[in-house]
Point group: C2
Chain length 323, copies 2
């Protein structure tokens, strides 16, 4: 537990009161922006504009084209000195990104759903829920601002992307209830679902093809291992959505209990994602190589060429299966 | 429109009244059972058992192991002469399957969500919604029967599988609202989502691997074509979930407007699934080969070896792109 424990943690009502009194608002998304941080930022922006406020959304890494439907009609106002800075879905100052690192100790309000939040902001509205967009929805309700179809699209996108389209274990009844509301308010979910969950970019397709073509099985199919070469990562981008979630795939195959995905690095090492069933601790394996993480998902970096890294990982796995 | 148009179509209330008066009930799922027909059948069964009725669920093709969590605690009663036969999610008598064809003109009540329903039953409760399980839920509510966690799991499975986990365009606000209710009532959605949408059987994995390894692109990436060889289909089963939905994959790749999936048949022909973007009519292509279907999804059977079938399909595609 850090020393900032719950410093400045405020209620929904207090957050709404704070926002009501402020103008010239800058809303920041986290770096490597995803559907939740962008959906949350723009839903809040469109809502505050309805109150006649001057509002701007920004992100260290810009807005990816993939989420164009959230912002293509958005016209940012002329540059202004922000009076109130809100960071959404941003658990730590490092996630503000280089461009906005300057706001690390100048964030007036952080709206977040990560329990790992470091309470770096003056005020923090934190709820343990599936998506920051769920909190934004509650806030808009609290502020009694009507929700139009575009705002509904933003909220829906935040919730649906952070829950893997209502599939991940973070999905709550409330996630579904809000989704139903957003559909009723005109969120074009058919298009959103197509863009977010069906359409595969050529880069993503290439990565998935590599997973299928390189996967190897060991220990009677209880362990799977995938090799993603450097050139593929370089063309897709390391933190891109092309790579996102790919480590889950080799673990999904029937019978697999421990899965490794090896991402080649340019320095002669591999970044290794470990995934495991309920019976094996991924973080234990990762720790053996100086890494860490959670029970079901962990990671480490292992030096060596592919054959060396693979045999070291398999040796560790063999010990676990032998127990 | 067939001559039976809406013959015996009844309201939810009438259906509930009918069921209340009957005992010794046989509930039939459609052949090649899926999550909706089984979820609906067992949700209704578990609910009617609570009214003290004798109830049995059956299916021409038995109950696939994949859906074991819906029925593993179910103990069918000793054989009895059914007084009242209910078919769920079964639009046409042919879908009753060979074993239960005898009930083609003896179905007392059909509960269905397909607008193509032929009104073969004495009474039909038909609603235009995402899943038969949504109607079953409304019926259980109408009958004022409390819903336990297992029944909630059945309803949730019906809705989530027929909507591709809330991703397909048939998903309605009501689909989400019921899902939220089922979660609150204890449906173990984490396990259900894993089993239905994450876990890949070895057969499914083999089919997907083939899609990725055989896909070819034509016309500057506007057309994709996949070849599923006979031995793979034979080991997976033609109508199995291993094959289900696979034709959607080559169409999902960025830039693809027309996608063909060629399933080899033992008689020297190919069953061809056609998928297209909003700009091209799949059924037009299928019709050119004596097939048919919808705008976005159609099918036909084309005689010839792979190279012959492929070149005939591409010739037809070229005509469309040239327009």
């Amino acid at each position: 537990m850090n020393s900032n424990f719950e410093k400045g943690r405020i209620s929904l009502k207090t957050a709404a009161d704070l926002i009501r009194r402020k103008d010239n608002i800058l809303i920041l998304s986290h770096r490597n922006p995803d559907g939740d941080t962008l959906g949350s930022a723009f839903a809040l922006c469109y809502s505050l504009l309805k109150l006649g406020k001057k509002v701007r959304v920004d992100c260290s890494d810009g807005f990816p084209e993939r989420y164009g439907f959230l912002y293509e009609g958005y016209k940012p106002p002329a540059p202004f000195e922000p009076e109130f800075v809100i960071a959404v879905d941003t658990a730590d100052t490092v996630l503000l990104g280089q461009k906005f690192a300057v706001f690390a100790d100048k964030t007036d309000l952080c709206i977040d759903h990560h329990l790992s939040n470091t309470f770096y902001a003056e005020n923090t509205l934190l709820e343990d829920c599936a998506a920051a967009a769920e909190i934004i929805y509650a806030l808009i309700q609290e502020l009694q601002i009507p929700i139009d179809a575009l705002t509904a699209a933003c909220v829906y996108t935040g919730i649906s992307t952070d829950t893997g389209c209502f599939k991940f274990s973070n999905t709550s009844p409330n996630s579904h209830v809000i989704a139903a509301e957003m559909m009723k308010l005109g969120a074009p979910v058919r298009i959103i679902n197509y863009l977010m969950f069906e359409k595969k970019s050529k880069g993503r397709f290439a990565v998935e093809r590599t997973v299928y073509s390189t996967v190897e099985f060991f220990f009677d199919g209880r362990c799977s291992l995938v090799h993603i070469p450097l050139e593929l990562i370089a063309s897709a981008g390391t933190n891109s959505y092309e790579i996102e979630g790919i480590a889950a795939v080799p673990r999904q195959i029937e019978g697999v209990e421990i899965a490794f995905t090896l991402f080649e690095r340019s320095d002669g090492s591999y970044r290794v994602s470990v995934r495991s069933s309920d019976d094996f601790d991924s973080s234990g394996i990762a720790k053996a190589f100086g890494g860490g993480g959670h029970f079901a998902a962990a990671g480490c970096t292992v030096a060596g060429n592919f054959e060396e890294v693979r045999s070291r990982l398999l040796a560790e796995t063999g010990k676990l299966f032998a127990k």
